[in-house]
Structure formats: C-alpha cells, structure tokens
C-alpha cells in the first residue's frame, strides 16, 4: 500500500512516516501544498494523509485541486485545531475522514485501514473469500479458521490483491504500491512471492484464489463468504 504523507512539521512527519513504514506501508512525504500536488498528480496512491495548515498551498485547496483532477484516493485530514470550521471545510473539499491533533498512532492506523477498505468497497475490517479471511485490523490471515503464517510482504501482496477485488493487478502496479521507489523492477521477486503465497493459502491447489492473467498480471478470485470464514 502506497501512502502520501503531507505534513510541514518535520518532527511529526518523521514520526508519521516512521510509524507507517513500520506498519508495512510505502510512504512518500511532502512538506508543503505544492509538493503534495506534485506527488498527488504523479502517483496513484492508496491513501493520503494531509495536514490542513500547510505552507504555500493550503491543505483544503490541495484536496480540492486533486479531487478536481479526478484523483480519487481516500484522504485523511489532520488538523491542529479542534475548530469545526476547518474539519467541515476539509470534508467538503473532498476529504474522507479527519483526525484532530494530537492523536494516537494506533487511531491513525485504524482510520487508514478503514478508509482503504471502504474505498475498495468492503464494509467490514475482515475481508473474506470462501474460507479464506484476511483481518485488516489485526493483519492476520486465516484459512478455515486456522491462522496462516505469512511474512509481512506476503501479507501485503495478499491484502492488495484482495482489496483490488476482481480487477487484474499488473506486476508493475504491485511493485509500485508495495515497494519503495528504488526497487529493481526487472526482478522476478514478485513471482516468487506469489508462488509462496499460493502454497500457503491454497495448500492443496484446489481453490486457485490467485489467478495469473497472461501478459497482464494477477487477479484475486473472490468467493462469497461462508460461515466458516466469517466467524473468528
């Protein structure tokens, strides 16, 4: 998951990016409104965290302009003041949720999770497909109720594919959203990860949840949830 963090205060920006990277996100940082606009136009993000009081271009204006240019990724606004005027303006400009400073990082993580899940069309924090379930809050994957041991990167790949629904996701898109920019795009590492992931979530190879679409990429085959998968 690739995030854009827009915050002019360096201490808070460092804390935010540090925390989010630790949570397994790929993070781009912008220090003012202009930089935020540049990044927002240049890259397709899974979500953006935007501080409202920004130098050069105000946060509300950044959101308005990005929305005006059909950038639809979810936006979480941060506001140092508890003033409702600011919150309402931000939400009216096209933000999806707000968080008032000071806040707890856990709260931020929960809001981000919910935003991205919501943007992908899932109402519950637990994404289910057949007897496979992925808990976005706990970052756990279960198969028929049994916990599946995944590496952080395998989890990220699975989460991204599931959140993408029936859409075909190219290898480039996967690397863009799951790796830092300097990742070597020629490597076969994605294929290796997909292979391992398939073995873990489909040990007997009967369901084939991750399909390969020749020349295009991968597609997660969603199966309506069963009783077994939804209970946890």
């Amino acid at each position: 998951m690739r995030l854009l963090v827009v915050e002019d205060e360096q201490a808070l920006r460092d804390q935010l990016t540090g925390f989010l990277k630790q949570q397994g996100y790929v993070v781009d940082e912008a220090v003012d409104g202009e930089e935020a606009l540049y990044y927002g136009r240049e890259y397709e993000y899974d979500a953006a965290i935007i501080d409202l009081g920004l130098p050069r271009v105000d946060g509300v204006e950044v959101i308005e302009r990005l929305r005006g240019e059909e950038r639809a990724f979810p936006v979480l606004i941060l506001t140092a003041r508890s003033h409702w005027q600011d919150k309402v303006r931000g939400l009216e400009a096209g933000a999806d949720d707000y968080l008032t400073k000071p806040f707890h990082m856990e709260e931020l993580a929960a809001r981000l999770n919910a935003l991205m899940r919501r943007a992908a069309g899932f109402a519950s924090p637990v994404l289910s497909s057949g007897d496979l379930s992925l808990d976005t809050a706990r970052k756990e994957v279960r198969l028929a109720g049994e916990l599946v041991e995944l590496t952080a990167f395998e989890y990220k790949v699975l989460e991204y594919l599931m959140l993408s629904g029936d859409r075909v996701v190219s290898k480039t898109e996967l690397t863009d959203h799951l790796y830092e920019q300097d990742f070597d795009r020629d490597s076969n590492v994605i294929e290796v990860f997909i292979g391992r992931l398939r073995k873990k979530i489909d040990p007997d190879g009967s369901r084939k949840p991750i399909r390969t679409v020749r020349g295009q990429g991968y597609r997660f085959a969603m199966v309506p949830a069963t009783e077994a998968a939804s209970g946890s």
Binding site: H83, W84, V88, E92, A95, D96, R118
Partner: protein, 458 residues
C-alpha cells in the same frame, strides 16, 4: 476621533454660516432693489408735479408762449437748487427755462428715445454731469389757433436720493449683519448644547480608558442611548473575554504543572521511566490544552445581533460527518424551518453543534434526530438525539460540570460535552442531558435566537 475631517461643531457652524450668508445676501439685495425702486418712483412723482405746474402756468401772448416770472416758485427759482424745468418745442426751440437752470447754466440731457405726444419718459442720465433724473412730457399745444408740439421736461439732481439710498443701505447691511451675528451666536450655543452629550461621552470613554469608570452614564438623549448601550456591552464583552482568557490560562498553567512535575520526577528517578505513567500524564496535558484553549477562544455573545441560520449549519455538519461515517449508514433527520437562527458567532455554533453531532454520530446505532425551534422572540432551542447507548444518569452531571478543569473531566464524550457546556454558558444559555425516546442520549440546548428574514435564505 475626527482625524482627517472637520469637527462636528465646525461642520455645523460652517454650514450655518454658508446658508445664513446666502439667504441674508439675497434678502439684502431684494430690499435694496425695492427701496431704490420706491425712491425712483418718488422722484418721478415729484418731477410730474413740476411738469404739471409748469403746464398750468404756461400762457399765450402775441409774442408766443411764455411762463410768467412768478410761476417758478421755491426750488425752481433758486440757482443750483437741484430742481429744474424747461419747455421746448418739438423742434428743439427753447421756450422757457426755470430760473434755477437759467441762472446756473444747467443744460438738459437729451431724451434717450422717441417721444410721442401724450407720452411721459422718465430716465436717469449723467451725460451732462451731475447725475440727474429727468421726466419729459410731450403734448400738442394750441397756440393762437395753431397746434404746436411742446416738450415739458423737469429734472432733479440724484444727489439727495442717492444720499437716502446710501443711508438706507448702511442701515440695511448693519441690521442684517446684526441678525447674522445673533443667529450665529444662537447656533453656536445650540450646537454646543446639542453636542454636549457627545463631548460627555468622549470624556466618559476617556475615563473608562483610564480605568476610572466601568460603564457610561445612562442619561444620554435618545439618539445616543443606543450607541452608549452598545459601547457598554462591547466593553463588558471585552472585559468578559479577557477574564475568560485569563481564567483559561490560569487553569491551563495550573493543570499542566502537576503532570509536568510527575514526568520530571519519573525521568529523574528511574533509568527506564514507566512508559504507561508518561503516557497517562501526556494524555492529561493534551486534554487540558484542548479544553482550556477551546474555552479561551470562544467568541462569546456578539454585541451586534448577528443571526446565523441553524438548519443550514446542521445540514452542513451532518453532510460532512456523513462522509466521515459513511459506512455506518446513519439516518439523520432534521426538523425546523430554515429561518430559525442563532444570535451569535457562526464559529461558536459550528463548534457546539459539531461536537454534539459528532458524539451522536459516534455513539448512535442508526438514527440521529435534530430538532430546532424558536422559543419566544429571542430564544432558540435545539435538541440532538440518537439511538445509541445514551449517557448513564450517574454520569450526566459529571460530563457537564462546567469550570471543572480539563484534566479532571471525563475522557472521550466528556471533553466535547463540557466544552459545549462552557460555550453555552458564555452565551448565557443552558445545556441539558436526558434519555431520548429513540433509546440513546438526548442533548437539549437553549441559546439566544431569532429569525432570519425568509428571503435571505442560503
């Protein structure tokens, strides 16, 4: 106060001077004209009498027409008396000249126009100085059976008339100047008396600035009473908000000292400070800061009655909150006409309703209901209800406790609610908590209100 422009007193006096000057000049001019006209009419009348007297005295003789020597009496007989008469024929042949003219060699100025028989012509001429009034009368005279055209002319020096006019003018302008002076004096007194309350107000404001008084007097004339009252309320408001800042800052300083001390001790005493303890103290500090700052920055009741449509604000907030709580599918119902208004600052209303609606959205299961109505002419009642778990009766008092320091108030719902309670208190309103018929909490607000004119709807 009047920097860059003239003072009120000077303005009024200048205006009066201008109007007075113009009207008195006009009056003087008209009077002067009519007096001059009446003087000239008098002169003409006098000359007519002379003409008639000469006509009456004219006698026929074989040698021609003549005026007997005793006919010219009084002024006509004395040289340089200023009154002269002459009879000439139509052709210009002199028939008779009064001794006054004859003896001093006075010549008569020619008539400035044609003179038909039976016509009088009155004119003034200085052609043969000095300046004189002339009256000429042309008649057809029977002279020994023949008809001859005769012109009788009487003339008078204008000097005595001019003297009269001069005298009149002097008196006229003196009189008018006197009137102007008296009127200006009256005006000056009127302005000073009329503007006295303004001066008194300025002095009282200066005394207020110097801290010698806290309100203006209450014996101002009707036109100024409103201003004085608003000024008083403004100052009162200013004092109140200063007190609010001071209290908030005092409370803030006080409530930060304890956690700061705890943190300092924890850092000094232990090699590995207790993280939970630090986190708790930080949370206390956060709560204090947000609570006290919100209290301090509230605008409070505004002096000039500014009306804010309540429904528009509720709709705006609900729409924004519905975005943030999109996946909860909360059903919001708003009752109340769009004219219902809050009298105060829009940001304060946003703050109060924002916090209350956010709580309702946070705790509701599915429904939020907002009802607003006017209570009387100057009142406003807003109720916000939800179908969530509600606030236990035992805690209702606690979350509302106003003036209670932020660090001792409840977390979560409590901070928002006690802040709203503070703001409501600033407006002299009331906040009540109850159980809603919907099953959750019901918050009722009473605030200063009013009605927007129905056309000014957004």
């Amino acid at each position: 106060m009047f920097k860059g422009s003239l003072g009120l007193q000077t303005r009024l006096l200048l205006l009066t001077l201008l109007v007075l000057g113009a009207s008195l000049s006009l009056a003087g001019w008209v009077l002067d004209r009519s007096f001059r006209a009446s003087i000239e009419a008098g002169a003409r009348e006098q000359l007519e009498l002379v003409v008639y007297a000469v006509m009456g005295a004219l006698e026929e003789a074989d040698s021609g027409l003549f005026v007997p020597a005793d006919a010219a009496e009084g002024s006509l007989s004395r040289p340089e008396s200023g009154l002269y008469a002459r009879v000439r024929s139509e052709m210009g042949e002199l028939i008779w000249r009064s001794p006054s003219a004859d003896l001093s060699g006075v010549e008569f100025a020619p008539e400035p126009g044609e003179l038909a028989p039976g016509d009088f012509l009155f004119f003034e001429s200085d052609l043969l100085a000095p300046n004189r009034y002339y009256l000429s009368y042309s008649v057809i005279w029977e002279d020994r059976g023949d008809e001859v055209g005769l012109v009788f002319t009487a003339a008078a020096d204008t000097t005595p008339f001019d003297a009269q006019i001069g005298e009149f003018r002097r008196n006229l302008w003196l009189g008018l100047a006197g009137v102007a002076f008296v009127l200006m004096l009256v005006q000056l007194i009127a302005v000073r008396v009329g503007l006295r309350p303004v001066r008194v107000m300025a002095e009282e404001v200066a005394e207020m600035e110097a801290g010698q008084r806290s309100t203006l007097g209450d014996d101002y004339p009707r036109e100024l009473a409103g201003l004085a009252e608003n000024l008083d309320r403004f100052v009162e408001n200013e004092t109140a908000s200063r007190a609010r800042y001071r209290n908030a800052l005092d409370d803030l300083a006080h409530s930060l000292k304890t956690p700061l001390a705890v943190i300092r001790n924890a850092l000094a005493d232990e090699a590995e400070p207790d993280r939970d303890l630090l986190r708790d103290q930080l949370a206390r500090m956060e709560t204090s800061v947000s609570h006290q700052l919100a209290r301090a920055v509230s605008s409070g009741p505004v002096v000039v009655g500014h009306l804010v449509g309540v429904r528009a604000v509720v709709e705006r907030l609900s729409k924004a909150l519905a975005t943030a709580y999109r996946d909860r599918g909360i059903d919001v119902r708003i009752n109340g006409s769009p004219e219902i208004a809050f009298r105060g600052d829009e940001r304060d209303l946003l703050e109060m309703l924002g916090n209350l609606l956010e709580n309702a959205f946070k705790y509701t299961n599915s429904r939020v209901q907002v009802v607003c109505e006017n209570t009387g002419e100057l009142g406003l009642a807003i109720s916000i209800e939800d179908d969530g778990p509600g606030i236990p009766a035992s805690q209702q008092q606690k979350v509302l406790a106003r003036g209670e320091r932020g660090d001792t108030a409840l977390q979560g719902q409590g901070i928002g609610l006690s802040m709203v309670a503070d703001l409501v208190g600033v407006y002299g309103g009331e906040l009540r908590l109850a159980a809603s018929a919907l099953g959750g909490a019901a918050v009722a607000l009473e605030l200063p209100g009013g009605r927007l004119p129905s056309r000014a709807q957004p």
